[in-house]
Amino acid sequence: MKSGRIFSALFFGLACLYFLLPLVGTLEFSLRARRGEYSLDAYRNVLADPQFHQTIGYSFILSLATIVLGVLIVAPTAFWVRLKLPRLRPVVEFLTLMPLVIPPIVIVFGYIRLYNTSSWLPLLGSAAGSDFLLVCGYATLSLPYMYRAIDTGLRAIDVGTLTEAAQSLGAGWVTVLARVILPNILTAILSGAFLTFAIVIGEYVLAALLNRPAFGPYMVWMGGNKAYEPAALAVVAFGITWASMGLIQLFSRFSKHTQARR
C-alpha cells in the first residue's frame, strides 16, 4: 500500500523531470541573449519581427479553417458510424490512424503530383488553391486526434435514443446533427479543435513544400539563422499550446448542462 504510493510518486516525479527539463533548458537559454544577465531581449526581437506576426496570423487562420473542415468531415462520419454502421467502427478507426503511419511528405508529394500547374486541376497554381490544399493536408494530419476526441464525446451521450427522440419530434438529419448531437459533444469538439490548432501551428513539412508562409517554416528558418530567438519562439509556441489546453478546461467548466456530471 505505502510502497505503492511511494513508487507512483517517484514515477510521477521522473515523468515530470523528463518533460520539464528540456523546457526549462529552452526557457533558460532563451533568456540569455544579453551576456552575463537574464533578459527578455530574444522575446523582444521575436515579437518585433513583422514576419512573426504574418506567419502566426496566417497559421492561425489556416488552423481555424482546418478545424471547421475537420469537424465537418469527422462529426457526421463518427455520428453515422456509431448510429448505423457500428460494425465498421474498427475499420474507420484504423483509417483515421493512417496519417500517423504515412509521413506527411508522402501526402504533400501526392498533392504536388495531382494538382501541379500542368495537371487536370492546377490548384497549386494559385495561392488560394495552395492554401486550400494545405488546409486539406492539415485536416488529414489532425484526423486521428479529431476522430478520437469526437468519438469519445459521442460515447458519452446516448446517440441513438437522442437521435430518435429528435426525429420523432420532426427533426431531419441536419437538425439532429446541428441542434442535438453537436451541442452535446461541444467539449469533445473543442478538445479536438485545440489539438488541431497545436498541430497546425507547429507543422513544417506541408507548409514548407507547398511554399506557404506558415509559422512552422518560420520557426525552422529562425533556428537556422539566429541563436537565442528560436528558443524564445519555442517558448512562445509552447505558451500558445498550453493556453489552448487551459481553454479546453475552461470551456468544459463553463458549459452549464455538464456541471452535474463532473
Binding site: 435514443t161 427522440a165 426525429q167 420523432s168 419530434l169 420532426g170 427533426a171 458549459s255 448542462h257 455538464t258
Partner: protein, 353 residues
C-alpha cells in the same frame, strides 16, 4: 377501417424472425398496451410504427395514410423512451419547445404551448431547469410534455415507467392515463408489467414470441385467456391436468375426480387438457357447482387477502385467495374443508400443464 391498422406485419433481423404475422387495429383516442415478456418483440412493433425500423412485410396505415417509406420525422408520431432521452444541453422549456420550433410554430404561441404542457404534467415553473436538475419522474414528465407538445397523431411509449421507483411509477400511471384521456390522443403503450397494462389500457395486446396471442379489454384477457400462454402470463392461476371423457357434457377426469363443466367442449374425447382457474375463483364452502374435498397445506396472511394452499382430492395442489373479513378465521394447516367453483370460471386449455 381503424385509425391505425397494422396488417400482417413480419419483421426479421437477419435470420431471426422477431415479429410474426402481427395484425392490430387501434381506434382513435384508444389506449392500447403491448404486454409480454422481455424479448417478445414489443419494442420492435413500436419502432416500426414510429418509423425507426422497417417491417420485412406487411403494412402500417395511419389515418388512411400508408406509412410505408415515410421517414420517422414526417410521421407526426410522438415517442417517449424508457431512458427519458431529454436533450441534456437544453432547458426543460427548450426541450418541450423542440418539436414546436421545428414545426415553425410562432414564438409566442410556442411559449404558450410550453407553459400549457408543463402545467399539464405538473411542472409549471420548472422551465428554466436543465434535465440533470430533475428527478427521474420529473424527467419523464418533461419527456411526455415534449412528445405531446407538437400535437402528434399518435403517442408511443416504450416502457416509460420501468426506470422509476415503484411509488412514482404507480402515480405516473394514472397521470399518463388522465392526460391521455384529456387530450384524447391515440396511444400505444409498451410494458412487460401486467399490472401496468391492465390498469391503464382500454385494450391489451398480449405478445409472445413475436405474435399477438390475444387482444382484448383487460377484464377479457384476465377472465377469458385465449391461450395457455396468456393464461399463465397474466395473474396467477391453478392448473390441473385432465382428460376429456365426454366433450358433449364437459366431463373431464382429473386426479381430484371427474369434474362436469356442463358445457360442450371443442376438444375431442380422450384428449389431454388442463383446467385453469384463478385463485379468487375458488371458494371455501359449497356454493359453486363444482365441489372438491381438500386439506389445508398452509396459509398466508397478506393483509386484505388470505392465500390458502390446499391439496384437493388427495394430491392436486390448489391456491385459493379470499378477502380477509373480520370474523373470518384463517384455516389451520391440516384442516379439512370443501372447495367449490363455478364451472363457468373454469377455463379448459389444450395440452397438459
Amino acid at each position: 377501417m381503424s385509425f391505425i391498422t397494422l396488417q400482417n406485419i413480419q419483421k426479421s433481423f437477419g435470420a431471426t424472425q422477431v415479429v410474426r404475422d402481427f395484425t392490430l387495429g387501434i381506434e382513435k383516442g384508444e389506449f392500447v398496451s403491448l404486454l409480454g415478456p422481455s424479448g417478445c418483440g414489443k419494442t420492435t412493433v413500436l419502432r416500426m410504427m414510429a418509423g425507426f425500423e422497417t417491417q420485412t412485410s406487411g403494412t402500417i396505415v395511419l389515418d388512411g395514410q400508408d406509412m410505408g417509406g415515410l421517414p420517422a420525422n414526417r410521421r407526426r408520431i410522438g415517442m417517449v423512451f424508457q431512458s427519458y432521452a431529454l436533450f441534456p444541453n437544453l432547458t426543460v422549456a427548450e426541450n418541450v419547445a423542440f418539436g414546436l420550433k421545428i414545426a415553425g410554430t410562432p414564438r409566442a404561441e410556442a411559449a404558450r404551448r410550453v407553459d400549457e404542457m408543463l402545467g399539464m404534467v405538473g411542472l409549471s415553473g420548472f422551465g428554466a431547469r436543465y434535465p440533470f436538475q430533475l428527478s427521474g419522474g420529473q424527467q419523464q414528465r418533461v419527456a411526455l410534455a415534449r412528445a405531446i407538445a407538437p400535437r402528434p397523431r399518435v403517442l408511443l411509449l416504450d416502457e416509460p415507467l420501468s426506470a422509476l421507483d415503484a411509488k412514482i411509477r404507480i402515480s405516473l400511471r394514472s397521470e399518463i392515463r388522465a392526460i391521455q384521456r384529456e387530450l384524447g390522443i391515440t396511444t400505444l403503450f409498451v410494458t412487460h408489467d401486467q399490472e401496468e397494462a391492465m390498469s391503464m389500457s382500454d385494450r391489451v395486446v398480449v405478445m409472445s414470441g413475436g405474435r399477438a396471442e390475444q387482444v382484448g379489454a383487460p377484464s377479457e384477457i384476465y377472465n377469458r385467456p385465449a391461450t395457455r400462454f396468456v393464461a399463465e402470463f397474466i395473474g396467477s392461476l391453478n392448473l390441473v391436468p385432465g382428460t376429456v371423457r365426454d366433450a358433449a357434457t364437459g366431463a373431464i377426469e382429473t386426479p381430484a375426480g371427474v369434474i362436469a363443466l356442463g358445457r360442450t367442449l371443442p376438444q375431442a374425447n380422450g384428449s389431454a387438457v388442463s383446467l385453469a382457474i384463478r385463485p379468487e375463483g375458488l371458494h371455501i364452502g359449497q356454493d359453486g357447482n363444482v365441489v372438491l374435498n381438500a386439506r389445508v397445506a398452509d396459509s398466508e396472511f397478506l393483509g386484505s387477502i388470505i392465500r390458502l394452499r390446499v391439496m384437493a382430492g388427495g394430491n392436486t395442489p390448489l391456491v385459493i385467495a379470499r378477502f380477509n373479513r373480520e370474523g373470518h378465521t384463517v384455516p389451520e394447516p391440516g384442516q379439512e374443508l370443501t372447495v367449490s367453483a363455478n364451472a363457468s370460471d373454469i377455463i379448459v386449455l389444450d395440452g397438459v400443464a
